[in-house]
Amino acid sequence: MPLQTSLTTLAVLLLFGLVPLAGQDTPAGTEPAPAPAPDAGAQPEAPEVKASNARELLEKLNAEAKRDAERIKEIESILFPYEDKVAMELFFMASGEYAFLRRQSESARTAGRFFQAQQQIDRSSWDGVSIFFDTAYDAMRSGYLWVGREQGLINEDVQLFNDLRTKVQEEMAKRPDGQAMLKLAQERDALLGKSRASAPLLKYFNERRQWWKGYPDYEATVKESVGLPAPAGGER
């Protein structure tokens, strides 16, 4: 049964990866992924063309993700100090206080993953406890004090920060130089949304596909000679 599920997942994932290559509809949730160049001559009857497109798409995605990450960093270096200044003036916060709240609230996803991993820890084994101690230590050292918290409390913190941020943005809109900052904030949100949307595709191509290739039934199921010949760089 798990094998069956895995194979079904594999088939779905492969389909997911190949659909854009064939120049068809982009799967839901991956909307921002750049469509491959609409090449009329490449209506994919020839498998080599598909594979080459797959590589190109992956390279393009990787390059775009890298560019976006750099742009997000760049925006943050301008936007965050401004937001922090507004928050200090509005709420009489100490220097760095708003930045701290932001960091805690943006780590909510990390917290979610942590809680999930924690649930799977076998408390009755030394190995499990050792994993818990390590993950807790890393989180504490990084200043994430949500380790011992409930997910509900984390969500409350996130909500609290979002409310404060709304007020900060309202104030920014009133200021002449704040308008440009708001635009940067919107750009950052859009880029973050985009990177979240293309994350599954990148994860599949960059990590999971390699993993699946080691799976015993992979070669029997996936006709690589037809669909995915090995890239010139010697992927396999």
């Binding site: 084994s125 030394w126 406890v129 818990f132 101690f133 807790a136 504490m140 050292r141 380790v147 011992g148």
Partner: protein, 179 residues
């Protein structure tokens, strides 16, 4: 021709002896790489985390109590790693787990476990480890009580208190697994 026979026999018996050594459950008295995490490793991590929590606490009394627990854990740790006893303890625990997961108990496993337990007793005839362990249990019990008695915790220490409770609970589970 006559001389070749004893040589062949001795070669055969040497091979058999080697094979026996390799297959014997007691092969390799030294801790092997497959042993994984031992109680000593867990204790070291517990001490490391508790020390970090101590620096994070805003309450001097709480910090003092954490210090007491850490001191007991350090005593227990130094005794538990004496003379390679820690790896034997781990082996016993793992064998117990294996035995619980199997329907029947292998005679050789039972024998090996008895041997390991005997070795442990010989290594620590005064029962220092057992004493340190019960002191650790007592210290943890007292600490848990005091954590539970804090009626109006300092909000700044709330997260630290939660983390402390979790650490104590998890470490208690480990102690209860000790052979």
């Amino acid at each position: 021709m006559r001389a070749a026979r004893p040589t062949a026999l001795s070669l055969l018996s040497a091979c058999a002896a080697l094979l026996f050594l390799m297959l014997s459950p007691s092969a390799g008295q030294t801790p092997d790489a497959e042993e994984g995490i031992s109680f000593g490793d867990v204790t070291k991590k517990f001490i490391r985390n508790m020390n970090l929590l101590k620096t994070m606490s805003h309450d001097a009394e709480l910090a003092r109590q954490i210090g007491l627990v850490v001191a007991k854990a350090e005593d227990l740790h130094s005794i538990s790693i004496l003379k390679n006893a820690d790896s034997r303890r781990s082996q016993i625990m793992r064998m117990r787990e294996k035995m619980l997961n199997r329907e029947g108990i292998k005679e050789s496993d039972q024998k090996r476990m008895d041997e390991l337990q005997k070795e442990l007793r010989e290594l620590d005839p005064e029962g220092r480890f057992a004493k340190a362990r019960s002191e650790m249990n007592r210290a943890l019990g007292e600490f848990q009580n005091s954590l539970g008695q804090v009626l109006a915790p300092d909000p700044r220490s709330e997260d630290v208190m939660r983390l402390l409770r979790l650490h104590v609970q998890y470490y208690n589970q480990c102690l209860s697994k000790l052979p």
